[in-house]
Amino acid sequence: MVGTRGIGVARSYCTMLTSRSESSSALPVKLSLVSASLFMGLFFFLPLVLVFGVSLASRGMYGGISWIATLENYQRVFDPLVGVIFFRSLLLAGMTTVICAVVGFPLAYCLARASRQWQLILLTLVMIPFWTNFLVRTYAWVLIFRADGILNSLLIRLGLLDEPLSLLFTDVSVFVGLVYGYLPFMVLPLVAAIERISPLLEDAAFDLYASMGAMFRHVLLPLSKPGFLAGGVLVFIPSLGAFITPYLLGGGQNMMLGTFIQQEFLVARDWPFGSALSFGLMGTVLLLWFLLGRTSLGKDPS
């Protein structure tokens, strides 16, 4: 599910084309424009503003909200126990982004430079796993990492292990799950970026006796920067706010922001504190998103 949404994002990222001129539009067009704006205002922007509002309120007697303004929820964010979760989320999301970039680049390069036919086949192959249910795909990793799971049985049969390792509910299993979940968000923008680099530039570098490594460092990498930026943000944001992955593969001990927020809302029923956490996450996301808009989308002369 998360994968499918990313396709639209990655896709529109690559279309910045002609503008059209037309003055009058039919009534249904105006109607849907107005009602869609109203809908998104009411059920997207207003709820997000509400999160901020509630984050400044106090917790009520029985888990509700009492509307007494306080900054206490934000002070609690600096509690060391909460800090650990923030730090783990940032670290895991950062590592996921880096690894996705490292393993995603070679794949993106092969995709971008393949013949038309192969490109279509390979792109479809890359996307197929991400069209399938995210929950189900993450659950597949539970089967692999479990104490009596695929990986442990394999290692024991090969004689590499005597008794099963506890792989599930570790930071490692969460990390693998995150990379698996968000890799295409890195690959797609990179393919788009590499496609824009003329192969002639690579030839020119080789003609000037550049080694493969030198060409890579001085030509490909700098020119792929927009792809890395877009891909980085598109991987980092959902990793930072991931819920399913840390819930199924991390368990109660290895919480990330997403699982922590869920717990505050549905288990502890402390909405104001949960809202403060959510607003922290939202602030980070919005900041990154609009910084990205300034760097690559803003530069586009469309």
């Binding site: 599910m1 499918t4 990313g6 396709i7 639209g8 994002v9 896709r11 529109s12 279309t15 910045m16 084309l17 001129s21 037309e22 039919a26 009534l27 067009v29 109607l31 849907s32 869609a36 809908f39 998104m40 059920f43 997207f44 709820p47 997000l48 509400l50 999160v51 509630v54 393993v103 070679p106 794949l107 092969c110 430079r113 038309r116 490109q119 792109l123 192959l125 796993p129 069209w131 399938t132 249910n133 929950l135 189900v136 795909r137 597949a140 990793w141 089967l143 799971g149 049985s153 698996y180 192969p199 944001i237 959902p238 819920f243 869920q262 809202s275 959510s278 998103w289 808009g293 989308l297």
Partner: protein, 266 residues
């Protein structure tokens, strides 16, 4: 074709294995006789038979399909017009409009989930089908707009100009020129939206009420309560259904556009 460094090809192959292995394992295990663990004890269809007999799962599947159909339908009705409106309006193509439009698709789902939950509870809206449909529309609507806009940009404005020059009203232009030309994008957006809604877990998890369990919610509770091979069978079915839906969406859009790398992202 250009030569590619062997190391790049090797990494790409490994990534492909990494991407497919879990799905293959999952589908394989759904045919395993063994109830506990992952050791292969023989081939069976019994988990699929159990699945078909399970009334609760069937009900959840029906709920999921109904919710997906309604939310996608509504998103299409509003989204197609909005896309046309944005494209034809001064300033509608600005990049900040794009950034805002994409925001609901980028923002972590858990934020949408908790934010909507609070709005619904504070306004005392009964949690159930309607709240799930609203939640799904929050991402289905921008998704539709983004896909239809991408197609609109590839259409030659001359078609519409020609119709107008020949005396067509704006209503005629819309229904007889623009919409028919947009048909592949509308189908594509519809199928993709349907799949996304069918697969959604996080937003649904927060805004669902008793009696509105969807298939992903059912899978989640099955995973939480105990690992039976029935989950594997159910997961395998969901994997195949999603693939068929998105494959169709891709095919519909491909058929009417000459293969370009841009349209192949879908």
């Amino acid at each position: 074709m250009k030569r590619m460094p062997d190391s790049f090809i090797a990494v790409s192959l490994l990534v492909m294995v990494f991407l497919y292995l879990p799905v293959v394992i999952l589908i394989g295990l759904s045919f395993n006789v063994s109830t506990m663990g992952v050791a292969w004890k023989g081939f069976t269809f019994q988990w699929y038979e159990k699945l078909v007999m399970d009334r609760a799962i069937l009900q959840a599947a029906v709920n999921s399909v109904v919710i997906a159909l309604v939310s996608t339908g509504l998103a299409l009705i509003l989204g197609v017009g909005t896309a046309i409106g944005l494209e034809t309006r001064q300033g509608g193509q600005k990049s900040w409009v794009n950034m805002i439009l994409l925001l609901p698709l980028v923002i972590p789902e858990i934020l949408l989930g908790v934010a909507l939950l609070m709005v619904f509870v504070l306004c005392q809206v009964h949690l159930g089908f309607s709240t799930i449909i609203i939640g799904h529309m929050v991402f289905n609507l921008p998704l539709t707009i983004v896909i239809v806009r991408a197609r609109l940009r590839k259409l030659d404005p001359a078609w519409e100009d020609a119709a107008r020059d020949l005396g067509a009203t704006s209503w005629d232009v819309l229904t007889r020129i623009t919409l028919p030309l947009l048909r592949p994008a509308i189908w594509g957006a519809g199928l993709l939206g349907f799949t996304v809604s069918l697969d959604d877990f996080v937003v649904t998890f927060f805004v669902a009420g008793p009696g509105s369990t969807t298939l992903p919610l059912k899978v989640f509770s099955m995973i939480r309560t105990g690992m039976t091979p029935e989950i594997n069978a159910l997961s395998a079915v969901m994997v195949v259904v999603s693939m068929v839906c998105v494959g169709l969406s891709w095919f519909v859009q491909q058929r009417s556009t000459p293969a370009s790398s841009e349209s192949s992202y879908l």
